[in-house]
Symmetry: C2
Subunit: 205 residues, 2 copies
DNA sequence: CTAAAAATACCTCGTACGAGGTATTTTTTT
DNA sequence: AAAAAAATACCTCGTACGAGGTATTTTTAG
């Protein structure tokens, strides 16, 4: 059986190169091309007609979504696996619609990735969104910013874009109480930009 | 000369494992430990006393900032290099304050990383925030969402958390014009959550 | 048991923005 | 030259939140 001809699409060269080494460890995969610029992905795929592409979701210029949409238009039995930073249900849902063959979080170990990719090549659809061996505690985050348990509860809901009123309803609190918590939280956190804040929220489970 | 004893700290196992393979390619580096959970980073560093640690900035539980702060308290001449998703001046400034030995974006190629790490071990401080070979155009992003050039201009400033008024001042536009652009933008973009929106902004240069 | 920390609740003011309009001018495309 | 697209500008209403307060109750730690 010939090795699976694979194209890697990720603008993070370091990750792309590392992933390439991971695949090279296994004789049943061969990396025929590495694409560092999503705009070149389509061209590479139509030229190489790979058996498998691994595409990062978060890329500049053209996001993974667009790449996937376009590659699916191409002829050939190319399998598509999305590699993602995030293990969010919302993200997964978007790719579910696109019917990709796999959705794998970057938290998986290298050997686990190979196992999953082999399953994909065998015709399965795989979703591996989280590493179960990592316990979901946010104590460290909490302590490092001096947040209380209640404040974390509030933050988790802020992360989901819930409004003060919605949070109050869900936790059976007064609107004003949630207001107070949010105020205290923003005084404790050092972030100056919204982006920093949302990056921080990302780390809450 | 003995190889540089290195610890990798990144909760993205796949990246961590890939990075490990990258370093193993070079005889002057040896990876003594891979840490997948930032909470265990301090313990590993005090036990191993490595020559070099590579730490990811964006991690759950405890961010790179905290890890760096703590590791700097430990004895030993451990060099600290931050590996980051982002090439943002703001981020770099935060690590500049901490006086780490290197700040390297994930967009660098594997062999370039090795070169930079050797420079660090030779006593230099390195900052490599962007890959100059990638032209900064956001045409693809623009077209895929049907945004106009002007709208991109507005968005870039929204990304910097500028208010409607500030944007209007900078671009010599009426407040109302900027308001209109922002309205049109939010109608064109499909994002339902703030997080999705900020992830998208990340892709603008 | 007692002091500190956390959680609860209330109030107001100012800022900011999205969504709903309408409308004119400029630029680009055909 | 005409039509289409983009950019400009104005207006209002409602929602939401941060920052500034104050104050009571509950829980935790010493």
């Amino acid at each position: 059986m010939p090795p699976t001809r694979t194209i890697l699409i990720d603008d993070h060269r370091l990750f792309n190169d590392g992933l390439s080494l991971v695949l090279r460890e296994s004789p049943d995969f061969t990396v025929v091309e590495q694409v560092y610029d999503s705009r070149l992905a389509l061209e590479a795929c139509s030229r190489q007609v790979p058996d498998l592409i691994l595409v990062d979701f978060n890329m500049p210029y053209m996001d993974g979504l667009t790449v996937v949409e376009q590659v699916k238009q191409l002829p050939g039995p190319t399998k598509i696996v999305v590699i993602s930073m995030y293990a969010e249900k919302r993200e997964i849902a978007r790719f579910d619609e696109l019917m990709v063959d796999g959705y794998i979080a970057k938290t998986v170990a290298a050997d686990r990735l190979l196992t999953l990719l082999r399953q994909v090549m065998a015709g399965e659809r795989v979703v591996e969104t989280d590493n179960p061996s990592l316990p979901h505690i946010d104590d460290a985050v909490r302590v490092s910013y001096g947040l209380t348990k209640r404040e974390i509860e509030i933050l988790k809901r802020v992360k989901q874009d819930m409004t003060t009123e919605q949070i109050a309803d869900e936790l059976c609190l007064s609107y004003f109480t949630v207001q107070t918590h949010r105020k205290n939280i923003s005084q404790k956190l050092p972030f100056t930009t919204k982006k920093e804040f949302y990056d921080f929220l990302e780390s809450l489970t």
